[in-house]
Symmetry: C2
Subunit: 336 residues, 2 copies
């Protein structure tokens, strides 16, 4: 699976900016792959790039229509379907991060088959994976882990990739969720893989590579998460990380969606994930840096908090949004 760019980002009739967050992520991290946005009447989101008709985007060379917007009630409205059919007619593939498959829309599936276009429902892995072996393979890998879901593991991995590439390091982001896959152009939605094959899928995603090559693997959830811990453990085992970066959001009153369940501490999260990583990589150097999501804090409070956790854990702490992650990449370079 390789999603071809340039992209045209379709955000339909998004009722607000949050509904277009998948497209927002692609626009932020792969701006140079995006020719523009395509919006329908009533759209309240804006990606800050040119509005293009399907025809104009095709004329400019668009290869894939990215469906980067949540659909209300999980339904595809006629205007969405018309847009997709027009994109196929104009020569584009379609890649979607939705739960509902665009390949399940009969007219869209039929036209794609007729014209030889590809449909990528990136939440739904279509390939078969082997069982994981746990065998050590060359190349270096970093996995982002964290104290909860939806706190910035993808963002942190992408920020690390950007910083490492800026330093001339050989680094590739490896996507494990739908937005990440659209950003990377490939990847595996590991939470949709049958449980027996999760570690194997991650081994496939992060294959043997040059000794100085870094895979920066997008983490998911936490091994201490009561709903999704098994997904995360498969990620830890399959990616056999040489180092971890731990992400935390300090203001949550409880784990997301689980009232009454406190967010695990950074220390417990580090211990649990390092133990998991060492099952397949006993040489894992552990957590080398902290990435703190301080979006809900003032500038002063954020910097004070970063200093506090640095002292507490003896690790460099950054907020990839607010401060960049140079200090964490420094630590990675010192360690290897």
């Amino acid at each position: 699976m390789q999603i071809r760019h340039p992209y045209l980002l379709f955000i339909g009739d998004a009722p607000d900016q949050l509904a277009a967050k998948t497209a927002d992520g692609v626009a932020q991290w792969r701006r140079h792959w995006c020719l523009g946005q395509h919006r329908l009447p009533g759209c309240k989101a804006d990606l800050g790039m040119p509005d293009l008709s399907i025809a104009a985007a095709a004329q400019a060379g668009a290869r894939t229509l990215i469906v980067g917007v949540a659909n209300r009630g999980g339904r595809f409205s006629p205007s969405w379907i018309e847009t997709m059919l027009a994109a196929l007619d104009a020569g584009m593939d379609i890649a979607s991060g939705l739960h509902n498959k665009v390949s399940d829309i009969p007219e869209v599936a039929a036209k794609a088959a007729q014209l030889g276009r590809s449909l990528f429902d990136v939440r739904h892995p279509s390939q078969e994976f082997e069982i994981g072996s746990g065998a050590k393979r060359p190349g270096r890998r970093i996995l982002t882990v964290g104290t909860d879901c939806s706190i910035g593991k993808m963002f942190t991995a992408l920020a690390l990739e950007t910083e490492m590439r800026a330093r001339g390091m050989n680094a590739d982001f490896r996507a494990t969720g739908q937005t990440g896959i659209l950003i990377a152009g490939s990847g595996v939605s590991v939470d949709a893989v049958v449980s027996d094959f999760v570690a194997g899928a991650v081994e496939w995603l992060t294959p043997a590579n040059a000794p100085d090559h870094w895979d920066i693997v997008e983490g998911q959830a936490s091994v201490l998460h009561p709903s999704y811990g098994g997904v995360t453990l498969g990620l830890c085992h399959g990616s056999q990380p040489d180092a971890l970066v731990c992400v935390h959001e300090p203001t949550r009153p409880h784990m997301r969606g689980l009232p009454g369940r406190p967010v695990p501490s950074i220390a417990d999260t580090i211990a649990a994930h390092v133990a998991a990583a060492r099952v397949t990589n006993p040489a894992c150097k552990g957590v080398l840096g902290l990435a703190i999501n301080t979006v809900s804090m003032s500038e002063t409070d954020a910097h004070a908090y970063l200093k506090t956790v640095e002292d507490e854990h003896g690790l460099p702490a950054c907020d990839p949004v607010r401060t960049g992650c140079a200090n964490v990449v420094d630590a990675i370079q010192r360690a290897f």
Copy 2:
């Protein structure tokens, strides 16, 4: 899903006894549900029960034909298909533990639909599960865990159920693999569940119950297993066990199927699984007993080994086959 008994055990043209191991398990643990066996010419396995024709089994009241035998090359031969069609005609459902689905055989699926019979492909969960919540629920649960795959976690769970029921305790085996499901008449093949839903599937399998009720949950693999650890972690989180029993096979040179990878120690296995269990059940009393698979040892060596690990870990040790598990159930009763 509830597979109806009495059963007729179909072992086809099994080339040896091992090929019929699923049927063997059902015959061993649910002899009173089984009217007999049905064999085809050339069958080299024997379950030690009456050979019955389809007609005779139906006459005697058989409700389900259990396909309890491995099929060579994953193919269904014409004689197997004839047998299944005859069973459906005679009023039986079919339940199969094979990887290939009997519901994918067009003639079998058509006849079952026509006659209103059920087809249970127990390796392939057909229901939808919720995401696990991790919320504490009433009732008590024991999970069997272990140092590797295929060492006796199902056997140990069934032996515990038998011993506890013999003492008048309110205990139910909960099946998580294909043979266990045929033995229990219901269950979930957790390794075939999409990874996001494993903990939720186990919560469904072991629901709220009376305070004195025990679920004895069949374990799978190990959280320290590089291929399947995520499956096991979902089992630990979803079953929120009050106690664990740890299974070990002392003579393996390496983990099954993974040459060069040593079997983790009992101590490391205990620590890893207790930590996992306490994510959803902080009151988990930990491992209360050891179940040692001594099949490859002499009587003298086996008893010496049991004594050694008892002293080393301060826990009662049994071999459910050789010694029964009374001492482990004693420990469970003392603890609760």
